[in-house]
């Protein structure tokens, strides 16, 4: 059985399991929709008060907001195995994964396909839909492809961060809240155009963690805006390539971690 088919079986089994509690899933989705929905009310209120931010309008900001929200919710749905990995190390459950003749990454990805994340996905999709219609974008086939590529690449970046978070558990056996700075913090930061932040923050999220490459830079190309920071046009189109590269690097670190792994023996 090839890897993709095995993953589909994992995901299907996980979804069947969750759908045994259908009402609970619907309620949880609605709850997330409500809680993330009010977040955008905050953005709207600021634009209602100030009109624009550094020359950006609400529909333009909504494009960045929608892109990162959709991206994060997709990663959050598939990356649960890595997110909850510290518990697996503490309980010694990781030993079982090592005994199976399949890669640990595939097994952890198949650990759970979290349906509850649909609420956030829905919220992101609504905001993105608003941006797509209201931001006056001249839609062409390359732009549509760029949007899809940016989201797919963004899932790679966030997944890479979750892999690093899980890897750190090999040494600490305890999830470090510090990683939230890059995941949740990265989401919050990416909701607004990168140009409004101080240089140290921009550089951190461009060169160390390439979140700008999957949200801000392709977003500029889609909006066809002149970048206040002067990033050349070609870099905006090629930036999403950074996502898979980042994920590949993170997986190398993961392999080092697995080799280092010592079971807690419990």
């Amino acid at each position: 059985m090839n890897a993709w088919r095995l993953y589909r079986r994992y995901a299907a089994a996980s979804m069947r399991g969750q759908l045994q509690y259908r009402a609970s899933i619907v309620m949880a989705t609605f709850a997330t929709l409500l809680q993330t929905g009010i977040e955008f009310i905050g953005v709207w209120a600021l634009f209602d008060r100030f009109g624009q931010v550094a020359g950006w309008t609400l529909p333009e900001v909504a494009l960045f907001y929608g892109m990162i929200s959709v991206t994060w919710s997709l990663c959050d749905a598939i990356g649960r195995g890595f997110d909850a990995f510290d518990g697996m190390v503490r309980g010694g459950d990781f030993d079982r994964l090592l005994l199976r003749p399949r890669s640990t990454v595939l097994q952890l990805l198949g650990h759970e396909f979290t349906l509850r994340r649909a609420g956030r996905l829905l919220q992101g999709a609504v905001v993105l839909g608003y941006a797509i219609t209201a931001a006056g974008i001249a839609w062409t086939v390359p732009r549509v492809l760029l949007l899809v590529a940016a989201i797919a690449s963004g899932v790679c970046v966030f997944l890479g961060l979750l892999v690093l978070q899980a890897t750190s558990a090999f040494w600490t056996t305890e999830a470090l809240e510090v990683w939230n700075v890059f995941t949740y913090g990265g989401v919050t930061m990416s909701q607004y155009p990168l140009a409004i932040y101080r240089p140290w923050l921009r550089q951190l999220f461009t060169y160390v963690i390439p979140l700008a490459c999957v949200c801000y830079l392709p977003g500029l190309a889609i909006l066809d805006r002149i970048d206040p920071l002067g990033v050349p046009e070609v870099a905006r189109w090629l930036a999403p390539a950074a996502g898979p590269v980042f994920l590949a690097l993170c997986l190398c670190v993961w392999r080092i971690g697995v080799r280092h792994y010592q079971s807690t023996g419990s």
Partner: protein, 270 residues
């Protein structure tokens, strides 16, 4: 009074065991605070008309929010839930203390211990570390003496109000048992109407009157604006009156609701 103090003391000692978790959260919160301040800074730079609250006041508002958010009534008490579900709550009825007072004391301890742990290092970072690393305009500014007194009074009222709301929501668990639905609604309402999402003066002008009269304004917005001097003079008294008024109303409502809930309690043998 002694039994209530004992409850508060015991819960406090229990929660203080989680020092490491509180410290780990500090870095995350400093980061979130800095991002928020940069966003507000960008908006304030592009303002065409003078905003209803100054940028420096917003900065203090943000840091106070990062320092004190653990005090807000976000959720129901897990132990209380299991007590209701297992029926162990009837043991509490056997004790020679008032059940509402007991629930209130538990809630008071649950709110203050984690807040103290988070707030103290956060305030140090926001007032002393930020200027030292070259960000003096983003520091938490110390309040004027009058504002400090007003803030201390208002903050005490906030604590009472937060606990009252928390107890009220815990009481509803007697009916719903899970508490999941009410937690969602509570979190949403608290985030949106307290000032935690964005400072309330930045909401549209047509919403201001309704926002000021909601009980949630007393959780964040009123004490923080008193701290920054945005509310001053006689308005401080009005703000305190609003906080205390809501607290009294919600205590009365909570007591009535608890009485109704206890009428339904069925003790099963065995």
């Amino acid at each position: 009074m002694t039994p209530y103090l004992a409850i508060v003391g015991a819960r406090f000692r229990m929660l203080l065991q989680y020092r490491a978790a509180a410290l780990a959260g500090l870095g995350t919160q400093v980061f979130f605070g800095l991002v928020l301040i940069m966003v507000y800074e960008a908006f304030y730079r592009s303002a065409r008309v003078v905003p209803p609250i100054a940028f420096g006041q917003i900065v203090s508002y943000v840091w106070l929010g990062q320092a004190l958010f653990a005090m807000l009534p976000w959720n129901t008490d897990r132990e209380w839930r299991s007590m209701v579900r297992s029926g162990a709550i009837v043991y509490e009825l056997c004790r020679p203390v008032d059940l509402y007072g007991f629930a209130f004391a538990r809630e008071l301890a649950r709110r203050t211990a984690p807040t103290l742990l988070r707030a103290a290092p956060m305030v140090v970072v926001a007032t002393l570390v930020l200027p030292a690393i070259g960000l003096p305009e983003w520091r938490l500014v110390a309040p004027q003496p009058a504002a400090a007194i007003g803030f201390a009074a208002s903050f005490a009222c906030t604590l009472l109000l937060a606990c009252t709301i928390g107890v009220l929501v815990n009481i509803t668990v007697i009916w719903t048992l899970s508490g999941a639905g009410i937690t969602t609604l509570l979190t949403t309402a608290v985030t949106l109407f307290s000032g935690m999402l964005i400072p309330l003066p930045l909401f549209p002008d047509w919403a201001q009157r309704a926002l000021a009269w909601s009980p949630f304004a007393g959780l964040v917005d009123l004490p923080f604006r008193i701290y920054t001097g945005h509310i001053a003079g006689a308005d401080v008294a009005l703000a305190l009156a609003r906080q205390l008024g809501w607290t009294l109303v919600l205590v009365a409502f909570g007591r009535w609701l608890l009485g109704r809930g206890l009428r339904r309690v069925v003790v099963q043998g065995g």
